[in-house]
Subunit: 421 residues, 2 copies
Amino acid sequence: MIHASICTIGNEILIGQIVDTNSSRLAAALEEAGIRVTRMLSIGDDRDEILNNLRNELTQSDIVITTGGLGPTKDDITKGVLAELSGSTGFVEHAGQLAIIHDILHSRGLDMLAINRAQALVPDRCEVIENRLGTAPIMVFRFPEDSFGATLYALPGVPFEAVGAIPDVMQDIRAHYPLEPILHHSLMVYGLAESALSELIAPWEDALPADMHLAYLPHPLTGIRLRLSIYGGSREDQEKRVEEQILRLKEILGDKVYSDQDDTLEATVGRLLKAAGKTLSAAESCTGGEISHLITSVPGSSAYYLGSVTSYAVSVKEHVLGVPAETVETAGVVSSEVAGAMAEGVRKMTGSDYAVSTTGLAGPDGDAFNPVGTVWIGVAGPKGTKTLKKQFRHDRKRNIQRFAAEALNFLRLTILEDLSI
Amino acid sequence: MIHASICTIGNEILIGQIVDTNSSRLAAALEEAGIRVTRMLSIGDDRDEILNNLRNELTQSDIVITTGGLGPTKDDITKGVLAELSGSTGFVEHAGQLAIIHDILHSRGLDMLAINRAQALVPDRCEVIENRLGTAPIMVFRFPEDSFGATLYALPGVPFEAVGAIPDVMQDIRAHYPLEPILHHSLMVYGLAESALSELIAPWEDALPADMHLAYLPHPLTGIRLRLSIYGGSREDQEKRVEEQILRLKEILGDKVYSDQDDTLEATVGRLLKAAGKTLSAAESCTGGEISHLITSVPGSSAYYLGSVTSYAVSVKEHVLGVPAETVETAGVVSSEVAGAMAEGVRKMTGSDYAVSTTGLAGPDGDAFNPVGTVWIGVAGPKGTKTLKKQFRHDRKRNIQRFAAEALNFLRLTILEDLSI
């Protein structure tokens, strides 16, 4: 098995100013290719630290990926240290990256300064993968067997650029390392705890052949990603055998599966609405705009999403959404009745086909009638109105996210049911 | 200077399933106390890896903090490995933690199982800091001078628990290590690029005495946190001298400073509204609910926030918010006129004192009249309606966040102006 280390370089991580998300994205890509990440580390912009740590990682791993330390300012010293580490005798200008730098500056209406041009210089012992998203080129150092016998990829630290470089880096790794052919297929599951899911599919999972492996990858907002992997064999054979197993798994899980892409609930709801030619609106109380924010974070959502009302105050529930004052009084604000009336109100107001609503207590406090973490969800649609109650725990931010995810899932199930009849 | 290492233990980080946020929070706390974090690393749930890496860190650092690997399941082996590393001869049950475990289970209506009770067992060579937020105790191993001469703190991996343990861990560090007294004071600044800010305050910064240091901590959503630190001297003297400098800095920066706590724009707006006894509503187009989500993420926001309309479709702008169709036609959807009419519409509809609105193009595409990244912001209040145009770049998610931050800042400045007259 090929082993890899990931190393971020930059003082801003060591003082806790920014959270390193690059390492996680790189690790996921390596893992999916069947490469084992044995260590991640973060070190500062210091020559000795960089040299010592990278020598150590290059000794222990086949592949070392660094991010950061490649900016144009004085504190970014990684390029010089890599020149030293690789025994480069000087720097050469990379014409392709220089052209990209020129284009980027031009598009911002800026002239090229010496400091910009210097970004295209690389140590003469490295190969370059062009960085089309920024100015710092991706450098590849192939250390021969008689030194470390390992490859070092130096990526920029800007997350947008680092993540953007992953496909090219993985392609280079595939071209130079004998990776076992792996095929993954993911199913996105919502509405089952990990333990319940595991129990439900145990007979199927236990019967999996030895060259197949199932991974549970839970996420608080998107449910659980089940990833089935098959190792070895021809691609054609892999695809056929994985598909057979996925079909069986889908049969067992039914509508708990919301997508067989690596996906979100809001994107899934969007696809369903688009396919059905239907529109959506939302009425939010305790989720405060989070559902609307999630829906509109999907590019192209304006094709099916009309808008929403956040009715934080009771007066807005009554006067804007038309929830009857007596319903609020008799049933309480956090109730099936109010959730239903909110969904119906915003549906009528916007003229949408579907509407989803929430009313609940995100925290920190509950009220006289309900504990913190209670939510009522409403969905109004062409075939009527339905409501659902869910109970979570204490954390305000987490509750808002969970409420929103539950609402999107309830909406998804309702649309599915309508479509299937 | 005291040196520290931070080490996360757990396979789920190495396969890229979760992003490690604990290390960043710990690093920030250590840095604020004047402790230098020299390295962060992430390793797997593997005995040899844990032993080798922790031995190495304990040799190089004064303080090593680990998070993770302390769960009750079989794959979490850190406690056993720490017993081995510390030369413990057995495990002892910690009565205080056992009582907490009992309480937690009881509050969830669960009985105590052997696997739960085992969580209260700790190696006999460690001291315990009770973890009131979860079942796994925080373990403190003090290695004497003739072994590593360092202290190891083992924290649980759950972010809520790890972050919750920071104050106790810092208190223990202060009690055992001679830290130089440092006082920090932060100012939150919005509306200036880092380079412009640096130029503006250069004369003040250059005149700072040698025992004071200024740090720029930029954040895309909250602007720049300026942190002034003073080293040494009595606390009283520190406070007096920092306050003098902060006053001067505030004079230079004027209303670019929005808070002198470590704070957000939405919390600042909330404080202003509360103090003035005013209410707020929002009308969002391109921000799709993000402004409302930010405002309601502040606990207690229901005291001043009435609600919002997300008018993603033009029909909702016209029929719900009452933006005249001819305004949309003549000025265009992304215009000062529509932003103003949206804010006025939602203000009237909800009866709020203030209303903020956005209309723009978050991406991926622009339209015939405006490039992607254009936003018009409106604020309607007791003294009339104002609008503001801003231009950003390409990334949809980033644009939505920037638009929302700009809108909150424009709202803040408007309220401030109203209050000062």
